[in-house]
Symmetry: C2
Subunit: 283 residues, 2 copies
């Protein structure tokens, strides 16, 4: 292990990953984007020193960010992704045969460039259904040109350029950008890290004030702090746990089920089971 990558998610606890070499380093107008080659996790992307994804573990995050809202919606055709510049969330969304168009609004073109260069298996950037826009996510939803069936907010942690994605104003604009059956998902950090509780509560309060359906769900991300990550789902139509939703999952994922490494019907339902300490964060 010639080098070590260290991320401390609080002053006292951190993740250490052995790296072979640095493949990409760019200080952009927004943040510092880096890619490292590792023995264990494939290539690893960090933003401002925080792990975003590795080639080996990205399937969990991207499947859980994409398929939970996509299956909650009865028939999503138009999808908006805010952030997600590595391309993994868009790749999973476009597996659904009914999808016509995906707008991916990424503030920092360096993230897309680094992913294309050093994580070529993550994105599906040549797919003609994908339209990449380099713009601030908040500005985009303030002046949308159309309405969407699903919005996925795949931003980084609530420091730097992603801080707006945890504010009430942003969700008000998203609500207006969603059609009648619209579903929205946002990543909302780890419930095990006390300093993240305000971010979770802030998003949950914003969406529960705007949408008839608002829920938190959890997934395992091995390279994110504590390994437990939360995602916040809001919807104008049916609940992600509605019998119809669960009954449709096998059928609607048939054409790409063999490509899934994480998501399935049981995982969809089980992800909404919240431990007591997580429920109490939301009270």
């Amino acid at each position: 292990m010639p080098f070590q990558y260290n991320e401390f998610y609080n002053e006292q606890t951190g993740l250490t990953i052995g790296i072979r070499r640095q493949l990409f380093h760019e200080k952009t107008p927004y943040q510092t984007v880096e890619v490292f080659e590792t023995d264990t996790w494939g290539n690893l992307m960090t933003i401002d020193g925080m792990v975003m994804l590795s080639e080996k573990d990205e399937f969990v995050y991207h499947e859980m960010m994409a398929h939970v809202p996509m299956l909650t919606h009865p028939d999503p055709k138009q999808v908006l992704i805010i952030g997600g510049g590595d391309g993994g969330t868009a790749r999973e969304v476009m597996k659904h045969p009914g999808v016509n168009h995906v707008d991916m609004v990424e503030i920092d073109e360096a993230v897309v460039r680094a992913s294309k260069l050093f994580m070529p298996g993550v994105g599906d950037f040549d797919n003609p259904k994908l339209n990449v826009v380099y713009e601030n996510g908040l500005e985009f939803v303030k002046h949308p040109v159309k309405k969407y069936d699903v919005i996925i907010i795949d931003g980084s942690d609530p420091v730097g350029p992603a801080v707006d994605l945890f504010k009430k104003e942003f969700y008000e604009h998203c609500h207006r950008c969603l059609k009648d059956d619209g579903v929205l998902v946002s990543q909302t950090e780890s419930p095990f890290v006390e300093s993240y509780h305000d971010s979770i509560r802030s998003v949950q309060r914003a969406i529960s004030g705007l949408f008839p359906v608002s829920k938190l769900y959890l997934t395992y991300i091995p390279l994110y702090p504590t390994g437990m990550w939360s995602m916040s789902l809001a919807g104008k139509g049916r609940s992600p746990l509605a019998e119809d939703v669960l009954n449709e999952i096998d059928h609607r994922t048939t054409s790409f089920a063999s490509s899934l490494k994480y998501y399935n019907k049981e995982v969809h339902a089980g992800a909404f089971a919240l431990p007591g300490f997580v429920r109490r964060i939301l009270e």
Copy 2:
């Protein structure tokens, strides 16, 4: 952060925890037992350099090891714990009002001593229902003096003294020690770590050959490698997902529900939802 504790769960990936000072260090005939004081996680116990528990996160592991099998059994009175020297699993088991007696068979008295001294809130060692035996777990189940309703195998990783707890012979003896409705649970490492897959498969094959019910379930443990941990459940009677089991959970946990920080009915059911890549380990 004057010192750092580092655990590498493979050669390349590790956990780093800032420590204030070492409180306990003993090289016993079996292993090296240490306790550290930390800022973030309270006191932290390691065995042979691997995190066993911290005061802050132990509730997850102990609630999930104890209550899933206890609720799967219709009326557990006699419980055997193999390992578990910190006392946390026994503490959770003894919350069930119907329990008459718990035999805890810990090979290394230093673990119990360190826990009593430096993690006084973890164990409930003064409870008259608890009988602590310092003996090898395999030897104990070879010559049991009685039969049990529930057996919980709360050993450390499959290196050192716990290696027997992952072998078929051990489960054959456990099967004989269990009464007709008996339920057994064993911790079986992280599915995200490839070098652990053999341990998971080995235990799952052993129990599925012996018991009519055998299942894997998952829980989040923030200080264990990757944050995802598996537990293997085997039973002679009802499935942990039987309608009767789920319907009884709220009622049977009423007297201690306010003490639970993790376990509840939804978490019990949701823990058995296995991602595709975990299912494939078991194929």
